[in-house]
């Protein structure tokens, strides 16, 4: 009899713990994401981050990107189009979140291209040819070099630049900020510090439109 009581008590306690944890997690999550970004604006944009668009644009989109991420590839042209439709109004700041295994090595190559002021063409080329150098979602940095031909990059210089220690520092900082900001998936966007309420291009567009509307007098 004692055993039965013990078993039932344990089952009830575990179920209650599960339900309480669920309620707690949901309420926590609702408040958390807005609060996080607001408290950590410094974490959103770093001096070292590649930036596209006018420096003093009123709307800043911060994107955590993984060059090997398919959704990042799909979103990139749409974000680009959004910026083109609102010239001088939107600035895109890229942060690295190389969550795919081996993707960090590809980021290093992009940073090396950046030293030659060809970051954006290199990024666009790599996103466009993603399937070639990341077969089965497995980024292979050896396949990346071939894709970069014809962009005017000095590949020999890049082979040297990829060993620069400051590049590793940039990636480590970005990953740390991603962790602090609860970024676990890519792409993740923050528009003037506000995270997407839920994932999707529509939600991103709405946030950007709201931010643009707020800048108009």
């Amino acid at each position: 009899m004692k055993q039965k009581t013990l078993f039932i008590a344990a089952a009830v306690v575990l179920l209650l713990a599960f339900l309480l944890a669920t309620v707690f997690y949901k309420s926590e999550k609702a408040g958390q994401s807005t609060q996080l970004a607001a408290a950590d604006l410094a974490r959103l944009v770093r001096m070292h981050s590649p930036t596209y668009g006018k420096a003093d644009a009123p709307v800043t989109i911060v994107e955590f990107i993984d060059p090997a991420c398919e959704t990042c590839r799909a979103f990139y042209p749409m974000v680009k189009a959004m910026i083109a439709a609102n010239p001088d109004k939107i600035r895109l700041v890229l942060r690295y979140a190389p969550f795919h295994n081996g993707s960090d090595k590809v980021v290093v190559v992009l940073e090396a291209a950046r030293k030659q002021r060809l970051f954006w063409p290199a990024l666009e080329r790599l996103l466009a040819t993603q399937a070639e150098w990341a077969p089965n979602h497995t980024p292979q940095v050896a396949l990346v070099w071939k894709q970069l031909q014809g962009l005017g990059l000095n590949l020999e210089q890049m082979q040297f630049d990829v060993t620069a220690p400051e590049i590793a520092g940039v990636i480590a900082q970005d990953l740390e900020d991603a962790r602090a900001l609860n970024v676990t998936k890519t792409p993740e966007y923050f528009v003037n510090g506000r995270p997407l309420p839920s994932f999707g291009f529509e939600q991103l567009k709405r946030l950007v439109d709201d931010a643009l509307a707020a800048t108009r007098p």
Binding site: H100, H137, T138
Partner: protein, 141 residues
């Protein structure tokens, strides 16, 4: 403590671990909305039934339940160890069985820098196996 109640307690302990693991997996999947990868599903297939099978052997105490539960726990343990090795990079990526949605090599959770979900699974399956084996030896005396 006589052998019967010792065996009962050991199997009950195994059930506790299986239930905590199951609820934990459901929490990650259904509440936190982390998509389980293929290997996670195989481990779940081995873990979830233990929550139901073990109590059947507890009321009344039926020692043979150890024999029914051990294959599940053992196979689950193998999947969990494989998963940990995959994440650690010991097993080359080319042989990973993965879907597009959630790559198995992705670490969705990393507490204290080393505790991942598959590591928790290895610990849980190991503890369940240990308790069940102990219960078996208690009963054979």
């Amino acid at each position: 403590m006589n052998n019967d109640s010792a065996a009962w307690t050991l199997i009950f302990g195994a059930w506790l671990i299986a239930t905590v693991s199951t609820l934990g997996a459901l929490f990650f999947g259904e509440v936190m909305q982390l998509p389980p990868c293929v290997l996670c599903w195989y481990q779940r297939i081995c873990m979830f039934p233990l929550v139901l099978i073990l109590p059947v052997g507890l009321f009344p105490l039926e020692r043979k339940v150890v024999r029914y539960a051990l294959p599940l726990a053992g196979i689950g343990w193998l999947f969990a160890v494989f998963h940990v090795l995959l994440i650690a990079g010991v097993i080359p990526e080319s042989i990973k069985p993965c879907t597009q949605g959630a790559p198995c090599s992705e670490k969705v959770i990393e507490w204290f820098g080393f505790v991942t979900i598959p590591l928790l699974a290895v610990v849980a399956f190991s503890a369940i196996i240990a308790l069940l084996v102990l219960a078996h030896f208690r009963s054979s005396k």
